[in-house]
Amino acid sequence: MTGLFLKERSEAQVGMGQIAVVTGEQIARSVLGSCIGVAVYDPRRAIGAMAHVVLPQSSGRAASPGKFADTAVSWMVDELTKLGADARKLTAKIAGGANMFNADGPFQIGKQNAEAVRAQLSALGIRLAAEHLGGVHGRKVTFWPKCGTYEIEAVGHAVVKI
């Protein structure tokens, strides 16, 4: 599945590699480890999308666009503009990229994911308004497109809204 489009349900659970498009009062939720929850929205139109990005680069692989940073962000921009969002007003908030196993070594996938998402947002001219990245804990996140609020819960930490 590429994108989740809600019609009657008010809440989308965004699984690995998925993207949910949400409008008005609808919300998108996800649980993140090393993945990045990328929320892109048009604050004036109350429309947005959340991608659950798993890996930094697609390297030409034909898979669900939500799986990779480079394909997820461009897919969301295309879809949101088709639905009436103003591409120049799109704003992003991102969270995730943890190292839950506290592992050393060169393959730090959470960090690589975060860098790839930032680079892709920058390349497409999307303003990154806030981020909540890294650490060794997973995150339970909720995104409201109507107000652009992105709420983050992590075990042992106070709830944060960015």
Binding site: M1, Q13, R61, F101
Partner: protein
């Protein structure tokens, strides 16, 4: 019209490797917990990436996890996930003291949980080593209280790098009364998955040849 014949693929008998590994870990944990923890193989699932989350518990409440890595080039993760009641009961049992739900874990409690992971991981990987004919060693256990979905997500990333299909194995508590609630997940890396697939295929071929 194309006359190419496409044979129906034979289903991989994952139970050939995961049943004995689960039985071995279950026997070891049962001895360690005086019969209070036993595991039965629940499912071995090869699924698309976006369906992994659907296969996990949906309640999104934090659990206590004992995480054991598979050392060496092959790699993978074993994750024992206890709900709050289960982990409290387990610690009380292992330390021979009344059940208290203070939620505070000192060195002694962490050590008891780590030893549980060590016993589980050693037994599981010993059985798997015998099956594949190579040594698979457990890493020192890592104890964490967090969201199970987040940890499993991070474990499957190593397969996701190579493939859009993910294999993971889930075992759960056997149905004995008074048991401690625990779910175990095993997620191999792509390298270990290849080793397992080859061994299972060879065993299946040997079985067919002897029939």
């Amino acid at each position: 019209m194309n006359d190419t014949f496409c044979p129906t693929p034979t289903a991989v008998r994952w139970d050939l490797v995961f049943e004995p590994a689960t039985r071995s870990a279950s026997d070891a944990l049962s001895k360690w917990t005086r019969g209070r923890v036993g595991l039965t193989l629940d499912e071995v699932r090869e699924t698309s990436l976006d369906e992994v989350a659907a296969a996990l518990p949906a309640d999104e409440e934090p659990v206590t996890m004992v995480i054991v890595g598979v050392e060496g080039q092959a790699g993978g993760r074993l994750i024992l996930a206890f709900d709050d009641t289960g982990v409290t009961e387990l610690v009380a049992l292992l330390l021979n003291r009344p059940v208290e739900s203070s939620g505070h874990w000192g060195e002694l409690e962490i050590s008891a949980l780590a030893e549980t992971g060590n016993i589980f991981g050693s037994a599981y990987l010993n059985a798997m080593s015998q099956f594949v004919g190579a040594r698979l060693l457990p890493s020192p256990p890592h104890i964490v209280r967090d969201y199970a979905a987040g940890a499993i997500e991070q474990a499957v990333v190593f397969q996701a790098v190579e493939s859009d299909e993910i294999l993971f194995c889930r075992t759960r508590l056997s149905g004995s009364a008074g048991g401690i609630g625990v779910t175990a997940f095993f997620v191999p890396t792509t390298d270990l998955l290849d080793v397992l697939r080859t061994s299972v295929s060879q065993r299946m071929s040997a079985g067919e040849a002897s029939q």
